[in-house]
């Protein structure tokens, strides 16, 4: 009985793990309007989320976020809620009309979200 229950628990976790692979892929942002390389890349947070949801910039570019959502928000690195993927992107909270910014000095893909509304996500792609 004990072995069966433990095996049952392992099987449940295995199913959950397989499900996570597929659902995690399906939960990735689908094609969204993107802002390609610009001298002054800006992201605006509204009640609907970050816009544009994806920006592509060159190494050494400063990206600025402006909060027009009407509520306090944050810019935090993934993964929610630990934010450990890229700690410089944990920029803290900002109120209505306020801005946050970060210079991206290394190429890569940097996902972020609003910690206070984790469904609001975005990504910064930094090219060489």
């Amino acid at each position: 009985m004990n072995t069966k229950v433990i095996l049952g628990g392992v099987a449940v976790l295995a199913v959950i793990g397989v499900g996570a692979v597929f659902l995690g892929r399906s939960s990735q942002p689908t094609s969204q309007p993107t802002q390609s390389e610009s001298s002054t890349p800006a992201v605006v947070l509204t009640a609907s989320g970050f816009a544009p949801q994806s920006v592509t910039v060159a190494v050494g570019t400063k990206v600025t976020w402006t909060n027009n959502s009407g509520a306090t928000a944050t810019v935090n690195s993934v993964n929610h809620p630990t934010h450990l993927a890229y700690s410089p992107l944990n920029l803290g909270s900002f109120g209505g009309g306020e801005t946050l910014s970060l210079v991206f000095d290394r190429p890569g893909t940097y996902k972020y979200h609003n910690h206070l509304n984790a469904s609001q996500t975005g990504v910064v792609v930094v090219d060489q």
């Binding site: 499900g19 993934v78 809620p81």
Partner: protein, 223 residues
């Protein structure tokens, strides 16, 4: 019941912070799901009537961490399913609330928002953060799980996490040290805390912390 009272205080603070009446309905739904299903599943197992304090704790946690009503309801059911049926003898293997949250999030493809325990930033809401920390008194002193909490916090801060992040503090104070599914011996508690911290680095959808906790529940399970 002390943990129920502490969690109720956190929920009340979040409720008044948002001012949305729908959150009260969500809490009632969560409690109905957890208490109702706990009674039902216990009866199916032939257990006698009991006071549902554990289900109340799970219900309030779920109401604080997720939002859509269907996610709340499913999470509550899954939590009590794990509590009643994923067990060996008198002990369940997994933290019920954590299991329900992770499984519900995976099934529905939804993140766990941690909405009720994310806003208590020290600079803006110090009193609310103090309320959030009350469960530490219960889990650390009464449940005697401070070795788990210290080991986890020490390592996670080294990894770059913020000690003042309210969601992280809630996890450490309430979910991490659940006494039925965590070791009692100090040296094993230290190992448990370290393993949870290490596993939390895996970017597991929908929540790395809950995945790390559940995996550690299984690894350290002892009848």
């Amino acid at each position: 019941m002390q943990m129920v009272a502490a969690l109720a205080a956190i929920w009340l603070a979040s409720f008044f912070h948002t001012g949305e009446i729908k959150l009260l309905l969500a809490l009632l739904l969560s409690l109905a799901a957890t208490i109702g299903s706990d009674f039902l599943f216990a009866r199916l197992r032939g257990k006698p009537f009991f006071f549902p304090s554990a289900a109340m704790v799970s219900g309030i946690i779920i109401a604080l961490l997720v939002s859509p009503w269907y996610q709340i309801f499913l999470t509550g059911l899954l939590a009590m399913l794990a509590k009643n049926f994923l067990r060996v003898g008198d002990r369940h293997i997994f933290n019920p609330a954590a299991f329900g949250l992770l499984a519900g999030g995976i099934i529905l493809g939804q993140n766990i928002s941690w909405w009720g325990v994310s806003w208590q930033q020290l600079t803006n809401y110090p009193l609310a953060l103090f309320i959030l920390l009350i469960p530490f008194l219960i889990s650390a002193l009464r449940m005697r799980r401070y070795f788990i909490q210290l080991a986890f916090l020490s390592l996670i801060i080294l990894f770059g996490a913020s000690l003042l992040d309210p969601a992280l503090l809630f996890f450490v104070a309430v979910l991490l040290p659940e006494p039925m599914t965590t070791p009692a011996k100090p040296i094993v508690q230290l190992a448990f805390g370290v393993i949870v911290a290490l596993l939390s680095l895996i970017p597991y959808f929908p929540d790395p912390l809950l995945f790390a906790l559940l995996a550690s529940n299984m690894l350290f399970f002892k009848r």
